[in-house]
Symmetry: C2
Subunit: 344 residues, 2 copies
DNA sequence: CAGCGGCAGTGTTACGTATAACGTGGCTGG
DNA sequence: CCAGCCACGTTATACGTAACACTGCCGCTG
């Protein structure tokens, strides 16, 4: 079991099983239907098991040109959403004997000019978040990434001739949030939005605007800021202290922004949700760590990664994966409530 | 630049440079000192650059048995600390042409019996967090992991004959927290501790106990719970509503626990920090998302990963890396304050 | 002038796998 | 009785790199 350090090769297995190396390769490669007898196959598998044989991936890659490794391109793994996307992708990949590596070497120390660098030699396909698209100029042209099969995550599915996409129903999610707030009686609403200009955030902005336009008397103020707590706090403070009647709800593009909005509220002496309702988006662990817990939209991040990986595997088989749209779910918690009586 | 898809080989470079393939290998492998003239080397490098040559990693691995890839074993990437450890490790690895893959395929779908599975074929060494040690029974025996060079992170450095370690000065950090609370006048203190029994948490418990023992009149109550907000909230509620005079401070083993403690305080109508001081540990992004922001201990997580990777590279060179102890820093924010006058 | 050592490279080989091409008995239909 | 075919394997080969052994050649030395 605990071998001295030298790994057995397919030839060792062949010797042990009394067959040729080619037969071992056939059996273990699952290509033996009708070419090797059931019994011989069993013998080979047992010998492989006894020796603890595992194929040398380098040799296999060299021969086939396939590495059984996918590259996941995300802006930062320290964002919980992307960590979960990775988790989902890696799980599906593992089921198919694939591995997942990450780009960039998160410090961003890699050569920006040649996005894939030497990694290009060692991967079969790319799974890229549209939020990392800035790191990869020209990605997605012709539906490929530097000649490699590509699947885009959270990207505009309408792009013609683009790569297969896996998307979340963000429009639906943010619409549910908007209607939730409207149903609670809120009419003066701040949309605390990301200042990043990618599809997933444009959709949010458009949908919120459309929903509020449909309601007479609804008033929308949009405030854009970076996706961090401090920036969100400052932006929320600006919006809440602007002239005119005070908004009664802050609809945020992300839980992080919502945390900032809550801090702004507290700073102004406003109670959440009595004086101000705050909604998030993402359902990070942060959402339940705050007090009150955030009303937010739960994103199936693992499924995004998993579905993306499935699509990539389909692509690698030569088929065309269908576009995927994953449902999201409004989770109502304590940070939103009915508008105060005096405000109504 | 954008070649049709077929990658150039070292032989192509050799042809372009007018030398033999072996020379290309020598030059690009940086083994040419005194074996190839400066001028020839320059010619080779230029040809390689023109063709956009990148070595075929599979072929190299096959020949050398080295893959230039390290395995990072962590419990879950969705924990911000480990995501940051990964980030640091990957950055250092990239500087040396190494990659980092993660274990387990986070869903835990891998074969638990053979911890490394087929990955063992494709890695040169292992970087393992002691907090994932349960996933890897027998890891670290003889300072190796299944025959592979190993570096342990956040592990007991005193283990004899064990692998090289990279540690944080957690004892120093938690001591600073304890003294901070004591200096603020707190005497009745809850230690909200992890129920995980690994070195890093044992050190916390021992250090807190020792510090409080040294102060006359100090009273310590330890409450153990799982590392999530809800469990922490419940544990804190238990401790805060126990009979006897109420504690004035909760010293937590992690920011997540501290978030739970804050929720418990709010549930009991206690103001943080006026009625109850709460301290965290880790300095996650959560620490500044909460309101008030958490007094906590900042851990150089990226440096843990980076130093671990450096140690592993040293090990792979055949040298003995020195044990690393990284300093931590107390960050005083708004969640701790002087004990209320009436309590004193 | 023979011999030696160092420089600057070249020729060749091995790594372990996957697969195309190639037997080889035995059975069966005509 | 033989062609043909199936079931069952084997032989041979290619992949791209790194390392080892080797070869001219030049200058120096005794």
């Amino acid at each position: 079991m605990a071998s001295g350090g030298i790994r057995p090769t397919s030839r060792d297995v062949a010797r042990a099983a009394g067959v040729s190396q080619a037969t071992v390769s056939l059996v273990l490669g699952d290509k033996w239907r009708g070419r090797v007898s059931e019994r011989t196959a069993a013998v080979v598998r047992e010998a492989a098991g006894d020796l603890g044989y595992a194929p040398n991936l380098a040799a296999r890659s060299l021969r086939t040109g396939r590495t059984r490794t996918a590259l996941l391109v995300v802006p930062a793994l320290t964002h919980e959403y992307f960590a979960r996307v990775y988790t989902g992708a890696a799980a599906v990949a593992a089921e198919h004997g694939f591995g997942v590596v990450l780009y960039p070497s998160p410090a961003g120390t890699g050569p920006a000019r040649d996005p894939f660098g030497s990694a290009r030699a060692a991967i079969d396909g790319v799974l890229a978040s549209s939020m990392a698209a800035d790191a990869l100029a020209g990605i997605g042209e012709g539906g490929r990434a530097g000649g490699l099969p590509l699947v885009m995550l959270d990207s505009d599915p309408a792009a013609p001739g683009g790569p297969p996409t896996v998307n979340l129903a963000v429009a639906d999610g943010i619409r549910q949030v908007a209607r939730h707030l409207l149903a609670l009686g809120h009419r003066r609403i701040i949309h605390l939005a990301s200042d990043v200009d990618t599809w997933t955030f444009r959709v949010r902005a458009d949908t919120v605007a459309a929903e509020l336009r449909a309601v007479p008397g609804a008033l929308l103020r949009t405030e854009r800021c970076a996706l961090d707590v401090t920036a969100a706090r400052d932006a929320a403070l600006r919006a809440l202290t602007a002239s005119g009647p005070r908004p009664t709800a802050v609809l945020c593009d992300g839980d992080t922004l919502a945390a900032g909005a809550c801090k702004a509220a507290r700073h102004l002496g406003l109670h959440v949700p009595r004086d101000l309702s705050v909604s998030g988006f993402d359902d990070l662990s942060l959402a339940t760590a705050l007090d009150p817990e955030l009303t937010t939209v739960r994103l199936p991040a693992e499924q995004v990664g998993g579905a993306g990986m499935s699509a990539l595997l389909t692509l690698l088989r030569g088929d065309h994966p269908a576009p995927v749209d994953l449902p999201v779910e409004l989770v109502v918690r304590g940070s939103t409530g009915p508008v105060a009586a005096k405000e109504a």
